[in-house]
Symmetry: C2
DNA sequence: GACTGTGAAAAGTTTCACAGCT
DNA sequence: AGCTGTGAAACTTTTCACAGTC
């Protein structure tokens, strides 16, 4: 992150704000829906409504990409779809490996977003020998031993980690060692990676906890002063219990820290 | 979002920045790990490292909660765990319903974070009659017809939507109608909700697209000027294809709009 | 001496409002 | 007349750096 790698040959004017990049997929989705309905042009106001942002923000965002609109008219849907796709790097297809084919990994493999074009699921990898060869979403699971070969043979640069928390760092290290430079981490743990490797994290328990925070706020609108349920002096002990609850989320799988067969399957 | 509902009775000094709230679960996780190892106190530096942020940010974040540290010493782990848990509303337990027991919904039901305490999976709901009664993660799936009753009977205020995109808004409306005021949305679609209802969105395809953006940047270090693969004039057509890829992600399930039995379970 | 808590500066993001093109 | 593109203002978040406390 702190890499001073902003060499930029000053060709155009690069350097799109991170906040804007995070919204481009949103716009792309809205645009694609319009494209499918053969809508030829769209105004910033309409598109913004469809994407759930306000129009000033959208126009500002697009201004970082260039001037792709027409004043008095709006944006050409197809053209904008192309420009955003290109900006996001979706005009090429990215082979992706998913490591950890437990419940979540299997769901991801089946997820339309992964199976469809743009991102191609190049391989599914799991440490459990019992899984090896088993097809999930039509793709046979391969054993973790082959991880490095798979990554190299397929030129994979994006890896998805869906293992239990305990295995994530090790898997990450091996992915990176084999040449992966972008990681989407579903394991609820912090990954340490060398400079130049990107990690994005999707954390289900965190999202829920943020919701709980706001939910609590709504409930406590009047009961401002006191907690009702919290025992004041013995609190610290009760705290540990409550926290354990939140902490239990630290395992994608309730038990095993090893990459071993998750006890998740009901059998 | 534009609700001017900042009534705040000025009792203490409320109003924790959103960015801080989003990090509290991270700290909580790191703290709980320390608690389990019976570490009594921790410095901002150590905790920050464990949570993957810098120490100044962490101290600033904690300063919004109050002064829970001791200068020259650090923070009492148990105490801080309690304070953060309380702040997040995790000292009470939240009944949650998951709607849409396809691949993703099943994975969520099995996910440690949902099944563990703090958040209790009160019910699993699916529109497919074939699913009704089937146990997933030990909980029998109930039919969508009963949604309103389930929400009311269990006092559910948090709902998780894991349906295909096409069903999400309708499910959302029904949840909200029945009294749910916080929604975690996994369907890749924008939800419209009345004021006072919170929506958080987890979108797998968006995260991948953001990774692709950065990945592309790394690759294109020298090839600054031209795209190599992009056909310039015929581009707009190729664009549509690439975009279709991204758009295909708009369905949580590749095919069926119904919540048919997921291929997730190996058995 | 070690470490927190916090003002103040810097950086990043959003919103406003309007000039400028079609 | 309608709508984009963008400077400038407002707001939020991060970082700095150090006074204050143990």
């Amino acid at each position: 992150m702190a890499t001073g790698r902003t060499h930029r040959p000053a060709t155009r004017s690069r350097g799109i704000p991170e906040a804007t990049v995070a919204r481009l997929p949103l716009y792309l989705r809205a645009l694609t829906a319009l494209s499918e309905r053969s809508v030829p042009t769209v105004s910033s106001e309409e598109l913004a409504a469809a994407a759930g942002v306000n129009s000033a923000k959208l126009r500002k965002d697009f201004s970082y990409l260039g001037s792709y609109g027409t004043r008095g008219v709006g944006y050409d849907v197809e053209y904008l779809v192309y420009q955003i796709s290109r900006e996001l790097g979706l005009t090429q297809d990215w082979p992706v490996v998913i490591v950890g084919i437990g419940n979540l990994g299997a769901a991801l493999a089946n997820y339309g977003g992964f199976a469809s074009r743009g991102f191609r699921v190049a391989a599914l990898i799991d440490a459990d020998p019992a899984m090896t060869g088993k097809p999930v979403a039509g793709i046979p699971v391969q054993h973790a031993d082959a991880l490095e070969d798979i990554v190299r043979d397929n030129g994979v640069s994006i890896g998805v980690i869906a293992t239990p928390a305990g295995a994530a760092q090790q898997v990450c290290d091996r992915l990176v060692g084999a040449g992966v430079t972008s990681i989407l981490n579903f394991a609820p743990t912090m990954l340490t990676v060398p400079d130049g490797v990107d990690v994005r994290k999707v954390d289900l328990s965190i999202e829920l906890q943020i919701l709980a925070f706001h939910e609590q706020r709504k409930a406590g609108e009047d009961a401002a002063a006191d907690d009702d349920a919290a025992p004041a002096p013995a609190a610290v002990k009760g705290a540990a219990a409550a926290a354990a609850a939140a902490a239990a989320m630290d395992e994608a799988d309730p038990k095993g820290t090893d990459g071993e067969a998750p006890a998740v399957m009901p059998a």
